[in-house]
Assembly symmetry: C2
């Protein structure tokens, strides 16, 4: 049963979806803001949208107007080349921003697809710029978030350019583990939201190679894999694989 407008008017307490009571505020844009500043940020985020599994949040070429903060759920972004090849450029989870790539050309330069039922906050970009001209903390934090995206991308370039298959998968699992931990989930046990093919696309590998690497990790007792369910058994072992360069 959903609350009627009348219920609101009768001032029955309603859980307002707002930055100030969002448990992701320490990971997301509001980081470091005062109560009053957060309220002003709230003001500009007046649309929250559900995106069901498999649906696009935006597509390449669409006019860029807003960035999105993930309230809950899981997304992938991918780029499509004219000749049909495509690549997953990232997986995004709660508290992360989507759409930063659209600022440069005023249109989105990748597709964003929900990998599970998700909810996003819609942040009109020009209003965010306006507010960040007024709130130094917000401005600086936003710059940090963009910069972090650049650093992340450099990490992926490193992975794609210098690592072999098992190193890539180890790095990928450790990265997921670390991000789940930061969100208060188990660092050792989680469900993958993406297929082997999507993992492979992200890591520059074919799905068979990803599958074989998982099997190998399993044999060596590093992880327990059951379909999409992953239990990481030996984090130091994975770290060693990641950086145990044979040459």
């Amino acid at each position: 049963m959903s609350l009627s407008p009348v219920a609101k008017e009768m001032s029955i307490p309603v859980i307002k979806t707002a930055c100030s009571n969002c448990n992701l505020r320490e990971l997301c844009l509001p980081f470091g803001l005062s109560e009053e500043e957060m309220a002003r940020l709230d003001d500009l985020i007046n649309v929250r949208k559900r995106v069901r599994r498999g649906e696009h949040l935006y597509r390449t070429g669409q006019t860029f107007e807003s960035i999105f903060a993930i309230r809950s759920g899981f997304f992938k972004t991918d780029v499509l080349l004219e000749d049909g090849r495509d690549q997953v450029t990232g997986f995004q989870m709660a508290g992360e921003l989507l759409g930063l790539d659209g600022i440069s050309s005023e249109q989105h330069s990748c597709n964003a697809v929900a990998l599970e039922d998700s909810e996003v906050c819609h942040i009109p970009f020009s209003r965010l710029e306006q507010l960040s001209r007024e709130i130094e903390t917000l401005q600086h934090h936003f710059h940090k978030v963009m910069s972090r995206e650049i650093v992340r991308d450099h990490g992926v370039m490193m992975l794609l350019g210098t690592m072999r298959a098992e190193e890539r998968l180890a790095a990928f699992l450790l990265n997921l583990s670390q991000r789940f931990t930061a969100r208060g989930f188990s660092h050792a046990e989680f469900n993958l939201r993406m297929t082997r093919e999507e993992i492979g696309s992200y890591l520059g590998l074919k799905l068979e190679t990803v599958s074989r690497a998982f099997s190998r990790f399993q044999e060596e007792g590093l992880v327990a894999v059951q379909q999409k369910h992953i239990r990481i058994l030996d984090i130091p072992g994975l770290k060693q694989i990641m950086s145990h360069h044979s040459h």
Copy 2:
């Protein structure tokens, strides 16, 4: 003969190195600013620094305080992994910014090395943020520049993840050509500032593979290669290689 301080005091016209008379202003940060706004940007860029070939502009781990705009010259950025592997993450030329990756953690996350004698403008970041709170155009343009870097990185991820050796090199040459063109140089003839090994590192290939790909292009009449001197003979041909996926 250099001008003495006395000459300046006698108000003999001195070419001031300033954004307003920099021929890169349309590519660089000042893009879209009024004369008055550009003067304010000039105010904050009071150090211009020479970096000789082979010297570091900054190193991984150094405290981040400024970003740098390249006035002239050519740089590479690279990341070093603990196990000794490294990768070139980009090549930067006049009008481009260096150091954006340092914002996120307040320390530089890569090395920037001059590949030829260069000159950079030193832009204290906190003052840039301050000014961009006051000048909307500057703020927006800066955001676009950061976003463009993200889009560029996605392009490189695509290249590393889905392209084969010759496609990567074709993409690389076309990209250089296009950037030289934008700076008023010949789009068809230029000198590479980097070694085959650096190209390989950037493209996720070994130097021998890069060399072989060059030879192949030469055989096929796509380019004329003589050491570091490159003449592009067939741009459509290169474009076709880049996107002529065999599968």
